[in-house]
């Protein structure tokens, strides 16, 4: 029986009915990873403990004990999220040998729902990148084309789901790091509202923007995971106390009367025409389901990328100061004194992109520059947030393309940082405003590469995103298309 193409919902059903054991399910995905991931490189490591964890779940189920909502479901977790006893590298040489002593809150939640963590996925170092080319552990390839990047920074989490090496995965999104690779790899990826999922245990890139979320082949599967990982965490001061709905309960509610705003700033210069027409076709599908569409404006959109590339590096420059060679990090062997130890350890341990952003952030926070950069960016951020508040007075959702282009070629943008940064042009605003956003597959280009549709909603209204995405996926089959294996 080929389990690899089954949805998470279907796997959970079969596991629950006893048709499938957690052990065989886990084994089957681990086998597939062993067979196929050497060329793809979506995993940094696989979890040796997965089989015994699966056996323990089977044992409990067979003896009539209660099991969790995801009992036996294999899950791949981005390697920037702490897993107790399992190496967590954040894609960096700096943390090559780092094994956390604790599980991230959200990993704990997965484990208490009896999901099985099967491995840790590759990523741009410290989540800084849009291509997963900036990993100390090598480039991850796009399952649709080995010449192309899978997007990033959660490129490993996207690629493994697209290649059917895991039914669901966990990513993190600071400026588009779940949605952009989901779009590039033809899967569904949700960035929840800031504060919806605990950040405790997520190795911070930019604390005010980072958010953990699910990546899967369908909105329904994302909802399944969201039910487990959402909610307040007393260990994360920024985590929200809002009630968590059952995200799978409202998937089939009608879209009649739903107002969708088409963001005009997301259809300008630089947008690939094939993406534009795929998105326009999607609008028709949603209209046919009873949604009303109206053009809206997020006027400060042109400043979003610049704002993001001030705030994120500022926070990163401070967040990454703890990687100093003193304790668990890489330490240079040849340093003769403290200053040398700092300088050499960090020079060797960090990759180029990380160093660049630390320098950007350090500069922008420096005395005499703070007002012009960090403070100014914080003000623009408030204006961007205000744009959303105004828009959501008129509409329930905001629609547009996830990315201006489909997956680019490996190496294509490595010498052109600006082109790389523009890959985030439609996604960064949701992080700056803190609102939830989802990317779903909505087409294939003539070259056969997936296209992503982005939907954004009011804070804490992930349910609407999942409902619209699910209704769209009932009408279309883009999310079921698979790369030629």
């Amino acid at each position: 029986m080929d389990l690899s193409t089954l949805s998470a919902a279907e796997l959970v059903k079969r596991l629950s009915s006893g048709e499938l054991t957690a052990e065989s399910c886990t084994e089957s995905f681990l086998e597939r990873i062993k067979d196929r991931d050497s060329s793809l490189n979506s995993f940094v490591s696989t979890a040796e403990s997965a089989i015994s964890a699966a056996q323990a779940i089977d044992e409990r189920r067979s003896t009539g004990q209660a099991v969790g909502a995801l009992a036996g479901l294999p899950v791949a977790v981005k390697d920037g999220i702490c897993t107790a006893g399992i190496a967590t590298t954040a894609g960096s040489r700096m943390l090559e040998k780092f094994v956390p002593a604790f599980d991230a809150t959200m990993v704990k939640q997965l484990l208490s729902a009896d999901a099985v963590v099967i491995g840790k996925t590759n990523m741009d170092e410290f989540a800084m990148g849009s291509s997963t080319e900036n990993s100390f552990f090598g480039v991850t390839k796009n399952p649709w084309s080995d010449q192309h990047v899978p997007g990033g920074s959660s490129g490993g989490s996207a690629a493994c789901v697209a290649a059917d090496l895991a039914p669901v995965s966990i990513g993190s999104d600071t400026g588009g790091s779940i949605r952009q690779p989901a779009a590039f790899c033809g899967i569904t990826g949700l960035k929840p509202t800031y504060g919806r999922v605990s950040r405790f245990g997520l190795i911070a890139f930019a604390s005010s923007l980072d958010q953990i979320g699910p990546m899967a082949r369908s909105a329904e599967d994302c909802g399944l995971v969201m039910n487990v990982i959402s909610g307040h965490d007393s260990n994360d001061s920024t985590s929200a106390k809002n009630d968590v709905p059952d995200f799978t309960q409202t998937l089939n509610d009608s879209l009649k009367g739903l107002r969708i705003g088409i963001c005009k700033e997301h259809f300008g210069e630089g947008l690939d025409s094939e993406i534009e027409s795929a998105v326009n076709e999607s609008v028709k599908v949603l209209e046919s389901l009873g949604a009303e569409t109206v053009e809206i404006s997020l006027p400060h959109t042109p400043y979003a990328v610049a704002t993001y590339y001030v705030i994120a590096p500022c926070e990163a420059s401070s967040n990454l100061a703890r990687f100093d060679g003193v304790r668990y990090t890489h330490r240079a062997a040849t340093a003769k004194d403290l200053t040398e130890m700092y300088c050499q350890s960090r020079a060797e341990g960090f990759g180029e992109e990380v160093k660049k952003r630390i320098m950007l952030g350090t500069y922008a926070l420096s005395s005499g520059y703070y007002d012009a950069y960090y403070l100014k960016a914080s003000k623009v951020r408030r204006m961007i947030k205000h744009d959303y508040d105004s828009a959501f007075e008129k509409v329930d959702l905001i629609l547009g393309p996830t990315t201006p282009t489909t997956a680019f070629k490996i190496g294509e943008h490595t010498q052109n940082a600006l082109a790389m940064y523009l890959a985030d042009i439609y996604t960064v605003s949701a992080n700056l405003a803190g609102v939830p956003a989802i990317s779903i597959p909505c087409g294939l280009t003539s070259a056969g590469m997936p296209v992503g549709l982005q939907l954004q909603a009011r804070s804490f209204d992930e349910a609407s995103l999942l409902r619209v995405a699910h209704q769209f996926q009932l009408q279309t089959d883009w999310h079921t298309r698979r790369p030629n294996a």
């Binding site: 702490c82 405790f200 005010s208 260990n235 920024t238 100093d324 350090t362 005395s367 703070y370 960090y374």
Partner: protein
């Protein structure tokens, strides 16, 4: 500061002619107080002093990747309490900022502190000199902000290249940094400020202020304003670190003031000619020495900590904390002076011993109905014992109730002062109560007929002395009192004296 200072060059003769009267010492202080919380500022680790290195740590206070801080509400409450006691404006909105710098005992590479929205804004503290060394002064406070402490580094001082050791037990303990304006005008004022501050902090119970444990640390900023040639110049500001006791602070500031005057007389350099310098107090040699300057001036790149949310403080919370404060030392002094007739100096000494001593005194004063007597006994007998033994009042062997009983007997004439002190000593030595001590010493009441027969005997046996008294030498009666004591130690000397004088009609 609104004053502006010129930087004229004065010649050597002019500088030499400057006298001490032309010099004003300007002192500001920064005091770090460890707040008395059970757990650290952003995690649940214990703050107890003296545990083996690195045993009171967790992922949060050691800055492990992925860990996040959560504020300790108790630290906020103690900060507000301190601010209220120091007459500070309490912020309705306060937030957290990161102070970024690299050091091995700072595991996150930044310290969580408060930059532009401290929990306590401007306030003041009034200081007085118990013996009149200076005029009473109001020292304005700039602010007080909450921050986490760093860890402790221990370096190999042998120069043999041993590894440095780091203890992170202290990392993350809550510190309140209290910053004064440059309002003190002498080292004695600075010491008085520190003494009064510590007294307030211990009275309101926010810190034990134990300097040996580093729970109260103090840095001083000092320079001189010099009137010269009709103008006023300022010497370069020096920050003095490592002042480990109030005595050391007074000496360090005094030394530094003298050093700056001497240096200015030598080189004439003013605040405009030299940046702020950091010097350390060397207690062994009683000098300040330059501390190694950082290669470039530190830029801490403060910015709001995105892992923490800003704190809004409600008026109702401030009001309820206000109710917990109780009387402050200055108010206690006033009460003792006004309602119990203590002299200001005595009231200062009593209050300076801490709230428990004051409470002990009040119980005794009210119980025996004689504040002056209670003040004498507590101020002399009790405090002498505490000073000699180094114990706190709760270790004093005689309870306030027993002291009350003892003094009530003195007040009623049942015991004279000398006998009462013997009784007190017996109570302390044998750990017994008043009556038992009196019994042990054979003290019992002497009735009037016994007194009269005793006096008759004394008059009969000492005609010479009686004659002297009759001749107008009143003091001669003292000799009879001494003899009375030998005949019957329980006889009240005052009563014996009065009875004798009455009998001989003098």
């Amino acid at each position: 500061m609104s004053e502006t200072f010129t930087s004229p060059q004065f010649d050597q003769a002019t500088r030499d002619a400057v006298s001490n009267d032309d010099v004003t010492v300007i002192i500001g202080l920064e005091v770090h107080v460890q707040l008395d919380t059970e757990s650290k500022l952003f995690c649940g680790c214990s703050t107890e002093f003296g545990a083996p290195p690195n045993t009171q740590t967790c992922a949060v206070c050691t800055g492990m990747p992925g860990s996040l801080p959560v504020i300790n509400e108790r630290a906020l409450q103690l900060s507000i309490k301190t601010g209220l006691a120091l007459n500070c404006e309490i912020a309705r909105y306060t937030k957290w900022d990161r102070k970024n710098y690299f050091y091995p005992d700072l595991p996150k590479g930044y310290q969580i502190s408060q930059f532009d929205k401290p929990i306590c804004g401007q306030g003041y503290l009034d200081i007085t000199a118990p013996k009149g060394e200076f005029e009473p002064r109001r020292v304005e406070l700039e602010r007080a902000h909450l921050e986490e402490d760093a860890g402790k580094s221990m370096h190999d001082e042998s120069q043999r290249g041993g590894n440095s050791k780091i203890d992170l037990n202290r990392t993350g303990t809550p510190l309140l940094e209290i910053v004064t304006k440059p309002d003190m005008r002498s080292p004695a004022e600075a010491r008085a400020f520190l003494t009064e501050l510590k007294l307030i902090l211990t009275y309101i119970g926010v810190s034990d202020c134990n300097m040996q444990h580093g729970n109260l640390r103090c840095d001083g900023n000092v320079n001189l304003h010099i009137k010269v040639g009709g103008e006023k110049i300022a010497t370069p500001i020096v920050e003095i670190k490592n002042m480990n006791s109030f005595r050391a602070a007074e000496r360090a500031l005094g030394y530094e003031a003298g050093r700056q005057l001497k240096l200015w007389k030598q080189n004439g350099k003013t605040i405009a000619d030299a940046p702020k310098q950091t010097r350390g107090w060397n207690d062994a040699d009683q000098v300040t020495t330059p501390q190694r300057e950082k290669e470039e001036s530190a830029d801490y790149r403060y910015f709001p900590d995105p892992d923490l949310i800003a704190v809004t403080i409600e008026e109702s919370e401030i009001e309820s904390i206000k109710k917990e404060i109780g009387r402050l030392p200055a108010q206690w002094r006033e009460l003792l002076i006004k309602e119990h007739g203590l002299k200001p100096y005595d009231a200062g000494v009593m209050v300076g011993q801490g709230a428990e001593v004051v409470e002990y005194f009040l119980v005794v004063a009210q119980g025996c109905g004689n504040s002056k007597m209670a003040s004498n006994w507590v101020g002399q007998e009790v405090l002498r014992f505490l000073n000699e033994s180094g114990e706190a009042i709760d270790a004093y062997p005689v309870s306030a109730d027993q002291m009350t009983e003892l003094l009530t007997k003195v007040n009623a004439g049942e015991l004279d002062q000398t006998r009462a002190k013997e009784v007190l000593q017996e109570m302390i030595d044998s750990k017994i109560e008043v009556q038992a001590a009196m019994d042990k010493l054979g003290i019992k009441a002497v009735d009037n007929s016994e007194i009269e027969s005793l006096c008759r005997q004394l008059i009969d046996e000492n005609p010479d002395v009686i004659q002297q008294i009759k001749d107008g030498n009143g003091k001669a009666v003292g000799a009879l009192i001494g003899k009375s004591r030998k005949l019957n130690p329980n006889a009240n000397p005052g009563l014996v004296k009065d009875t004798i004088l009455k009998m001989i009609g003098a």
